[in-house]
């Protein structure tokens, strides 16, 4: 499925999709979006790349196997969960927030990091499944 049209279009589309996925991730707390959808969009971006440029090329872009994103994401989510226990002596998974919002990103809190963990896990799991299947097909 390597057509010139797809190839040229994808080279513009992929960065946009990736930025869009981060955008969805960040806006999740106030507007439709969140880590799960964001992760799926990012995964779609990489799959599109794999379609147009070949799986091997995508793998070199990624540098590491996407499978490693899964434990990383779980770790981020877990750390965000225990952060209230460490910083404020609150029970596990209580949301804590920084007092001043940061420009562009907005309010920073443990929930955002939790969502980031979900985001990473979803990318990792989706890409692992798709890459493995396409390699074995």
């Amino acid at each position: 499925m390597r057509t010139l049209i797809l190839k040229s279009a994808s080279s513009y589309l992929i960065p946009v999709l990736l930025i869009f996925s981060v955008f969805i991730l960040l806006r999740g707390h106030y507007l439709p979006g969140g880590g799960f959808v964001g992760g799926l969009v990012a995964a779609i971006a990489f799959v599109l790349d794999a379609f147009s440029n070949g799986l091997e090329k995508t793998k070199t872009i990624l540098k590491i196997h996407p499978g490693f994103l899964m434990p990383l994401g779980l770790l981020v989510a877990f750390l965000s969960g225990i952060s209230p226990m460490v910083f404020s002596d609150l029970p596990f998974m209580t949301g804590i927030w920084a007092e001043n919002p940061i420009p562009v990103i907005g309010a920073i809190g443990s929930a955002l990091f939790f969502d980031l963990g979900v985001y990473l896990v979803v990318i990792g799991a989706a890409l692992t499944i798709i890459f493995t299947i396409s390699e074995s097909a």
Partner: protein, 768 residues
């Protein structure tokens, strides 16, 4: 007490690392473990005799009421002393019996594991911990029976024993849960106060069923007795320790322990008397047909266990005391006889009673022990056996119903047990010594002293029954919560019916011993009846079960994905359909429905076209693509009904699904053979009915009055508590964050599963 229970576990753990030191000369040192425990428990004798009960509690899982609580009362003390006392002698004996065995340390490890578990069992006051120790005894016994694991027989017997006692363990758990539910506590000492509530509860019969099944399987009662003769494949020390003196008495112990809690109704007594009575006479008769010394002892053990169950069933004060004394009597003589059999087997290489004779000339101390053991077992005065037998007759004679019948059964059993004791303890030693045994020599004292000690104890206790009375009989009577009348154990009761019965037993037993000779022909005769023996029936049942489950599994596990789906969906339809139509009322408020817009109609048409195309197309890829159309139309629908989150997710998931399908399918050829129209109609009906059912379900849910409390809570608190305006996301990452955490873990497991399965397949493909 916790330390006492743990000691055995720690020792077996220690042997894992330091076992090699205990294989040679030092092996005998391991008997210090049971010996020290024996001394430890002996120090409690005077306290317990004074009527004190010692409690100890260690919290374990307090929220479930499961704690390591131990009680030391008369009953527990009797068993603890028996376990550690017989244990000491068996440990000593083993060091010579299995001298220089390759796995002697392993054997000691299993033995002390068993000892610790058994101690825990009899000391536990909490039914749940008792269950755990109960299972541990089954498991350690499995390893001990199968100790000669290079023999198929041993392995099979071990498995049968584990199977039977394992089912019993499961039953005990059931009984414990029910009892705990009815009484509100797992502590046996606290259950006593809710005795009436338990007897009146609707679960009473079920509780009895569970407790009885546990006790009968463990204590080898008819028809579960068959595992015990098989378990005799184990080395003799195991038969002595587990299968005559301690483990098989765990069931008796359970009945003894639960008797004050559960004996409120007639059914308790009836069942125990019938089962115990049948067991004792059935296996006593079996003794006649055996020529293997161990076989004779195995059946006489089952018979003795039957007597114990029978006595507990009678349940009067006399009967319970008779049972307590008989436990001691039986442990002393049966353990000695087993050890003696072990010595004979060890030295002559055979256990066939028809070949053995005249061994007194070469094994004199063993012969003395055997003779005394036979006297105790036969109930000849002045041994403790005589005291025990008197008590049994006293309790059957004074029972309210069928006293005559019960006495006759007890009498015949005792006559046969007399015979068994003499065949095992006397017959091998008298008569002319065959030539082939002339070179037999006396083994090390480590082997023949233990049976001598036990038999002498039986003699001493018989001469001074007061010892047993104060230390054991009275404290046990107290645990049974009886308003007990004072009693005294005596050798001489004067001339009365009981003495006449005892004398009859002795005379008939002696006659039987001289008239009946063990013969192989008898053994072969009974073997013909094996077809209808409970063992064969149960084994056939289990085999039949295996065949059936194979057949059953093959029906469902065809390996075709479409069959699995078909079965899953059909069951769902049946269940859901029953649920919906059993209480069906559909309320659709047509007045409040909004008008259809042009968008909705066009999406509906798109959906329908997509579905129809998917079903009728002849190309895989087209089917996948049109399935994608269906999914995307749905996400549009979500968007119209103001669920943008859902729409987004549906959109992305659908995209990825189509990609996945394409990746898998696009290399495959076109459909080679389409399913025939009959199959398609079948699948079509299934799909349509499933869809209709789900639609009905949703309509029904919409018709229910809504509970908006939860929605309101989230709407109100999402921003206040979690600083988020998107409720869906706030629920995901904050309110129900732990759920999300678990969900992403599941996602990871799924991905790893796909990865592992496919990569593994790739590797094996590469090899070719």
């Amino acid at each position: 007490m916790l330390e006492a229970v743990l000691l055995g576990f720690l020792f077996s753990l220690f042997l894992v690392f330091a076992g090699s030191y205990f294989r040679g000369r030092l092996a005998v040192l391991s008997s210090l473990i049971p010996l020290s425990l024996f001394i430890y428990f002996s120090t409690f004798i005077s306290e317990i005799a004074d009527g004190k009960v010692i409690y100890e509690n260690h919290e374990w899982i307090p929220s479930f009421g499961v704690n390591l609580s131990f009680t030391l009362d008369g009953l527990a003390l009797l068993f603890a002393l028996m376990i550690t006392g017989v244990g000491t002698l068996v440990f000593v004996y083993t060091s010579a019996y299995l001298k220089d065995h390759k796995y002697l340390d392993r054997f000691y490890g299993y033995l002390s594991l068993f000892m610790a578990a058994m101690l825990g069992l009899v000391l536990s006051d909490n039914l749940m911990t008792m269950f755990i120790f109960w299972e541990l005894t089954s498991i350690s016994s499995f390893y001990l029976i199968g100790f000669n694991n290079d023999k198929e027989d041993s392995r099979k017997s071990a498995l049968i024993a584990l199977g039977v006692t394992g089912i019993g363990g499961l039953m005990l758990l059931g009984g414990a849960v029910l009892l705990g539910d009815v009484a509100g506590t797992y502590r046996i000492s606290e259950m006593l106060s809710s005795r009436e509530a338990i007897a009146d509860s609707s679960h009473y019969v079920l509780i009895l069923f569970f407790i009885f099944s546990a006790a009968f399987t463990k204590s080898a009662q008819f028809p579960f007795h068959f595992w015990l003769p098989g378990a005799m494949k184990a080395p003799t020390p195991v038969s002595t320790y587990l299968h005559s003196a301690t483990m098989v008495k765990a069931g008796v112990y359970l009945l003894f322990r639960m008797s004050p809690v559960l004996n409120g109704a007639e059914i308790w007594h009836t069942v125990l008397i019938v089962v115990g009575g049948v067991t004792m006479i059935y296996s006593a008769i079996h003794i006649i047909f055996r020529t293997d010394l161990k076989g004779i002892l195995a059946y006489s053990t089952i018979s003795a266990l039957g007597i114990l169950v029978f006595l507990i069933g009678i349940g009067t004060q006399a009967a319970l005391i008779a049972a307590a004394v008989f436990i001691v009597v039986h442990a002393l003589y049966k353990a000695s006889l087993f050890l003696i059999t072990g010595i004979i087997d060890h030295e002559t290489g055979t256990r066939d009673v028809t070949q053995l004779a005249g061994l007194r000339k070469v094994l004199l101390p063993v012969a003395i022990a055997g003779f005394i053991a036979a006297l105790i077992s036969g109930g000849v005065p002045p041994t403790l056996g005589f005291v025990g037998k008197d008590l049994i007759y006293e309790s059957t004679l004074h029972f309210k119903d069928n006293a005559i019948l019960l006495t006759i059964i007890a009498l015949s059993t005792n006559v046969l047990l007399f015979y068994a004791g003499f065949v095992a303890g006397v017959k091998p030693f008298i008569g002319k010594l065959p030539k082939k045994f002339e070179k037999v020599h006396l083994p090390s004292p480590l082997m023949w002293v233990p049976p001598l000690i036990m038999t002498c104890a039986g003699l001493v206790f018989g001469l001074f029954p007061g010892l047993i009375e104060t230390a054991i009989a009275k404290p046990i009577a107290m645990t049974q919560a009886l308003q007990f009348e004072d009693f005294h154990l005596k050798l001489w009761h004067g001339f009365n019916t009981i003495l006449a019965l005892s004398a009859t037993t002795l005379i008939l037993g002696t006659v039987l011993y001289f008239v009946l000779k063990p013969k192989h022909s008898l053994e072969n005769t009974i073997a013909k009846l094996d077809v209808i023996a409970p063992k064969t029936l149960l084994l056939n049942l289990s085999e039949g079960f295996a065949v059936f489950s194979k057949y059953w599994t093959n029906i469902f596990q065809t390996g075709y994905l479409r069959h699995y789906l078909f079965i899953i969906v059909s069951f769902l339809i049946l269940l859901l359909g029953y649920l919906i139509f059993s209480d069906f009322s559909l309320k659709i408020d047509t007045s409040s429905l909004a008008d259809l817009t042009i968008y909705e109609i066009s999406i509906l048409i798109m959906l329908l076209l997509g579905v129809l195309y998917t079903v009728f197309t002849k190309s895989r890829l087209a089917a996948v693509a049109s399935l994608g159309v269906v999914g995307l139309s749905f996400s549009l629908l979500f968007l119209f009904y103001s669920a943008p989150d859902l729409a987004m997710t549906q959109f992305s998931v659908d995209t990825l699904t189509v990609i996945l399908f394409v990746l898998v399918l696009y290399r495959l050829p076109k459909y080679l053979n389409l399913s025939d129209s009959r199959l398609r109609i079948k699948h079509g009906i299934l799909s349509v009915s499933f869809g209709v059912l789900i639609t009905l379900l949703i309509l029904k849910v919409l018709g229910e009055t809504k509970n908006t409390e939860v929605t309101e809570f989230y709407a109100e608190n999402a921003y206040k508590l979690a600083k988020g305006k998107n409720i869906v996301n706030v629920i995901l990452v904050d309110f129900r964050g732990i759920d999300t955490m678990i969900e992403i873990s599941v996602l990871i497991v799924a991905a790893l599963g796909v990865f592992g399965l496919l990569k593994l397949r790739l590797k094996t493909k590469d090899k070719k």
